[in-house]
Every structure is written in structure tokens, then in C-alpha cells.
């Protein structure tokens, strides 16, 4: 009896948060696909079979999404591409959020002061560099691979987190609960983590899925322009770059990876948007 009620209330909650649920399902599916890519992929993504070049999708049960220009299975390549996207997207945002969190808290707590000024000018310089140019220069300087692409992406993103955190820390400093904590003799460290840090969650959490979506697009973009993950490694971006040559004769070839990418980004955006509404009572209607 009780169990049934619980089940019902879960269903009700899902009904109220349909887009959020769809988003979570999409994100979790892609995560599983990414993590278990070697197990899930039906074929070896590198195995070429020149006798079945550019096979159209949904024609052959062996190659559901068709084959590419040298007869490799597109579905398997996409599964490995999702793996690259997921890893780079999550890692770069994690790195940027952590750096931004540390810099933002230090900056906010010492503001106004020389440390704050210096840190904020560094974020200014960083933001003065357009991302795409920064990425192009950095990736011609260091050979592009998973690690360097992740670092470049987080390099472009961390100032935004530092700014957000700082602007949330500063107004908190003059609140009564921080004053009370100080009076009780709490250390700076304890105040930063337990009081200020906790209150940053509503500002930061919704940004994370939205930024992962952004970074996944940026990664695919760099790989598309041959500045990111290059063959023989697989990324959705370089699959599309391969497909570019056949845009006139085999249009479906560039459409498929794009759709796979867009569904992933949509899922992340659904999650992020709904978290934003959840934490901001002004948007809740």
C-alpha cells in the first residue's frame, strides 16, 4: 500500500518535471554509451571494408547507420565519438569549475584588495582572448590530443566560474550568519567551505550541465577544423569532417553525427535549464 503511494508520487513528480526527466534519461544513456563504448560497439570502429563503401543507413542489419568512405561502421564510430565527447566535456568543465571556485573564493574573500585585483585582471586578460583564437594558437603550439583539448577548453571557461563565484561570495560576507560564525571563532577555512561554499551550489550547479553541452560542441568544432582530436582517434567532430567531402553526393553522412550530437546537447540543456528554474524562485511559475 505504502509502496504504491511512493511509486505514484514519483510518477507525479516525473509528470511535473517532464523535460528534466527526459534530459536526465538522455544524459545517463550517453554516459553509459560513452563509458562502455568498447562493450557496446557492434563492430571494430577502425575495421575498413572497401567493398561496402558509403552504405546508406537502415539498409543493412550489420551496419544500421551505414558505412563511411572506406567502409567502416558508422554506428560503432559514433559510439566511440560519444566516448570522446563525454570524457572531454565532463573533464574540462570539472577542471574549469574547480579552478574558478578556488580563484573566486580567494578573490571574493580578499576583496577589495591587491590579490582580488590581480586575480580579476587575469580573468579580464583571459576573457579578452576570443576562445576560438586562443584554441587555435594553443593547439598549433601543443600537439592536439585529449589532454591538450581538455586543458584549452577549461582555460577558456574558468574565468566565467571565477566571476560567478566571486560575485556570490562578496554579498555573503556582510550577512549576519557569517558575522555570527566569525564571532564563534570559526576559522577562515571553515567559513569558506561550510557557509560560503554551501551557498554557491544554486549559482553553480545549473551552469555545469549547460557548460558541458557548450564544451562538447566546442570540442567537436575543433576536431571538425582538424585542430582537436585527429584521426586515427575518433571524435564526432572528425567524423563530420570526413563527411564534409561527401556533402553533395551523400548528404545523410553528415546529418547522422550531427543528430547524435544535438540529442546529447539537448539533454544537457534540459537538465541545466530546469535546475536553473528550480533554484531561482523568480523563474518558477
Amino acid at each position: 500500500m505504502k509502496k504504491k503511494n511512493k511509486f505514484k508520487s514519483v510518477l507525479q513528480w516525473i509528470g511535473k518535471n517532464r523535460l528534466f526527466t527526459i534530459g536526465i534519461v538522455i544524459v545517463v544513456t550517453y554516459l553509459i554509451v560513452g563509458i562502455f563504448a568498447p562493450v557496446i560497439a557492434p563492430q571494430d570502429p577502425a575495421k575498413a571494408n572497401p567493398s561496402i563503401r558509403l552504405l546508406k543507413p537502415f539498409k543493412d542489419s550489420e551496419h544500421i547507420l551505414g558505412t563511411d568512405a572506406i567502409g567502416r561502421d558508422i554506428l560503432s564510430r559514433l559510439i566511440y565519438g560519444v566516448r570522446t565527447s563525454v570524457i572531454i566535456g565532463f573533464c574540462s568543465v570539472l577542471l574549469a569549475a574547480l579552478t574558478g571556485l578556488i580563484v573566486g573564493i580567494i578573490s571574493g574573500l580578499t576583496s577589495p584588495g591587491p590579490i582580488d585585483s590581480i586575480l580579476m585582471r587575469i580573468t579580464d586578460v583571459q576573457m579578452g582572448f576570443p576562445f576560438i583564437v586562443l584554441a587555435m594558437i594553443a593547439l598549433t603550439l601543443f600537439s592536439p590530443n585529449e589532454v591538450s583539448v581538455t586543458i584549452v577548453l577549461s582555460l577558456a571557461l574558468w574565468p566565467a566560474y571565477a566571476r560567478t563565484v566571486r560575485s556570490n561570495v562578496i554579498p555573503q560576507k556582510s550577512t549576519d550568519y557569517i558575522a555570527a560564525a566569525k564571532l564563534m571563532g570559526a576559522s577562515r577555512w571553515r567559513i569558506s567551505v561550510k557557509y560560503i561554499g554551501k551557498n554557491l551550489v544554486p549559482a553553480m550547479l545549473p551552469l555545469i550541465p549547460l557548460d558541458i553541452a557548450g564544451m562538447i560542441i566546442n570540442e567537436s568544432l575543433l576536431s571538425y577544423m582538424s585542430l582537436g582530436i585527429n584521426p586515427p582517434k575518433i571524435s564526432i567532430g572528425n567524423i563530420m569532417s570526413d563527411a564534409r567531402t561527401y556533402i553533395a553526393s551523400d548528404s545523410w553522412y553528415i546529418m547522422i553525427p550531427g543528430i547524435v550530437l544535438i540529442i546529447m546537447v539537448l539533454g544537457l540543456n534540459f537538465v541545466g535549464d530546469n535546475l536553473q528554474v528550480h533554484f531561482d524562485p523568480k523563474l518558477r511559475k
Binding site: I137, L261, N269
Partner: protein
């Protein structure tokens, strides 16, 4: 107000100089010798001559000093590959990119006000849901993929618009659409949500009670209230738009500033890359100052926080 403007300007100049210095050093760390790329068949002596004539034999601080001295005079040096000055190369490319940028912005502003109003005035109806879902969809599409789809539809299948290189004004249409779609999506959401917000406010309800016409309420009260969030969103999106322009120009082989910078980096054309980086960062810094000052000017609450204007 003047104090704030001056402070932001001084900060802006400082940041620009830092950007120039850092990019100057990084560019010279890129592996690859421009002399070898320019003249692969030349003898080592000839290559040395090329290096000497470009000033590449001097130390990096010395090169930087020379560069800054010329920069003050408005001279950005010569492009190594285009046999022209950097300023001239940029003069050819910038207008083409500006056409794309301006037409994309104008299209997006007009479209988003119309779509946002339709969605906002019919909050939570089927048309609102339709517009909002399409907006989320277009926001999630990478620019280069949208560009490819546009090429497939309009160039490959219908054959009505050119897809490659610059062949007159018709070549601007597809890149503009590719740039405008995501921008329109973002701005439509802003107009929609701020309209819904306005119509729930007391002052709009009072205006209704006073018998002011619906049209007047829309323009004078509701739409006016959307101006600040709209301008701020447009400003932040402009930053993304400049990034997207590089990509869209790459897909369409469109000889604007983004296409030029990509090729310049691949050919180690230091002076040209440097010039375009300066152009981009000045643009970004000015943009940020304008957004900050604009939001202070438009929003009385911000004015108070800044100690009055």
C-alpha cells in the same frame, strides 16, 4: 560616471597590452619556421636573409619593442604571405565579416521581438510551447552543422544559393542565416520571459485598471521593460557570434576575418595573426565596457550600486 568610464578605459588598455604581449610570445613559440614555410626550396643562406629581413633574428623582447613602436604609428607590419601590409589585408576581410555580423544581428533582433512577443503574450499556450521548443532546439545545434544542412538544402538540392567562396551578395545569405538562427533562439527566449514577467507586475495591472489601451501597455510598459535584459543578452551573445563567425566562414570558404586568421595561423603568418588578435581583443574589451556602462546607465538599481551617475 566619468570616473567609472575612465577607470574602465585604463583597465581596458592595460588588458589589451597584456593580450598583445602574451600572444606575441606564444606565437613565436609555435614550432615551425616561417622562412622555411615561405621558401621551402631556398638555400639556408637565402632563408637566413628572409629571417633577417623580417626581424626574426633578434631576441623576442627586442622584436616586441619594435612591434609596439610601430603599432603606436598604426603600422602592424607586413603579412608574410599576402605581400601586402597587415592593415590592408584586414581592410579587405573586415567589411565582409561585418556584413555577416550586422545582417545576422538585425535579422535576429527583428525575428526575436516578433517571435518572443507571440510566445510571451500567449504564455503556456501551444504556440508558446512550439516557439520555445524550436528555440531550445536551435540553441543546441552547432553552427557548422547548421551551415552544412543549409548547404545541403539550398545549394545541393535546390541549387538556388552559392555555398563556396565569395561570389557577390548572394554568398552572404547562407552564412548570415547560420549565424542568425542560434542568436534568434537566445533572444526570443529573453523577450518571452521578460514579457511574461512584465505582465505579472503590479504597474501593468494598474495600467490596465486605468484603462490604457493594450497596444500602449505593450509598447510603453511591457516591451520597454525587456530592453535591459535584451541588450545585456545581445552583448554577451556578440562575443559568441565573433567566435561562430570563424567557424561559419571556414565552412563556407568565406574570405572574411575568421577565414583569414585560420589560414594565417596555419601558415605561421605572425604579423597577420597578431594584428587580428589585437583587433578581436580590442573588440571584446570595448564590448565588455559598453555592456557594463550600458547596464549601469539603463538600470537605476545598478546606478545606485555604483555610487550614482
Amino acid at each position: 560616471m566619468l570616473g567609472t568610464v575612465l577607470k574602465r578605459l585604463v583597465q581596458g588598455i592595460f588588458v589589451t597590452i597584456c593580450v598583445i604581449f602574451i600572444s606575441f610570445v606564444i606565437l613565436r613559440m609555435i614550432p615551425g619556421d616561417p622562412a622555411k614555410v615561405m621558401a621551402p626550396t631556398a638555400t639556408p643562406e637565402q632563408q637566413q636573409l628572409i629571417r633577417d629581413s623580417m626581424g626574426l633574428d633578434k631576441s623576442i623582447p627586442q622584436q616586441f619593442k619594435m612591434y609596439m613602436a610601430n603599432l603606436v604609428k598604426g603600422d602592424l607590419g607586413e603579412s608574410y604571405f599576402k605581400s601586402d601590409t597587415v592593415v590592408n589585408v584586414m581592410k579587405q576581410a573586415v567589411p565582409l565579416s561585418l556584413i555577416l555580423l550586422v545582417s545576422a544581428i538585425v535579422t535576429s533582433i527583428l525575428l526575436s521581438i516578433v517571435l518572443g512577443t507571440v510566445a510571451g503574450l500567449n504564455g503556456n499556450s501551444w504556440i508558446d510551447r512550439l516557439i520555445s521548443s524550436i528555440a531550445v532546439l536551435f540553441q543546441s545545434m552547432p553552427n557548422y552543422w547548421v551551415s552544412s544542412v543549409l548547404i545541403i538544402i539550398f545549394s545541393v538540392n535546390l541549387g538556388v544559393l552559392p555555398s563556396m567562396d565569395y561570389q557577390g551578395p548572394a554568398s552572404c545569405v547562407l552564412p548570415t542565416v547560420a549565424l542568425a538562427l542560434p542568436l534568434t533562439a537566445v533572444l526570443t527566449k529573453v523577450v518571452r520571459s521578460s514579457l511574461i514577467d512584465s505582465y505579472n507586475q503590479e504597474f501593468v495591472k494598474v495600467a490596465y485598471a486605468r484603462g490604457i489601451s493594450k497596444v500602449a501597455i505593450y509598447f510603453k510598459y511591457a516591451l520597454r521593460n525587456s530592453v535591459i535584459p535584451f541588450v545585456i543578452a545581445l552583448g554577451t551573445q556578440l562575443g559568441f557570434l565573433v567566435g561562430s563567425i570563424v567557424v561559419v566562414e571556414y565552412v563556407f570558404n568565406f574570405p572574411g576575418i575568421g577565414y583569414t586568421v585560420l589560414n594565417a595561423i596555419l601558415r605561421r603568418d605572425y604579423n597577420l595573426v597578431q594584428g587580428i588578435i589585437i583587433l578581436f581583443s580590442v573588440f571584446f574589451i570595448v564590448l565588455n565596457i559598453v555592456i557594463d556602462l550600458g547596464s549601469i546607465r539603463l538600470d537605476p538599481r545598478m546606478r545606485k550600486a555604483q555610487g550614482g551617475l
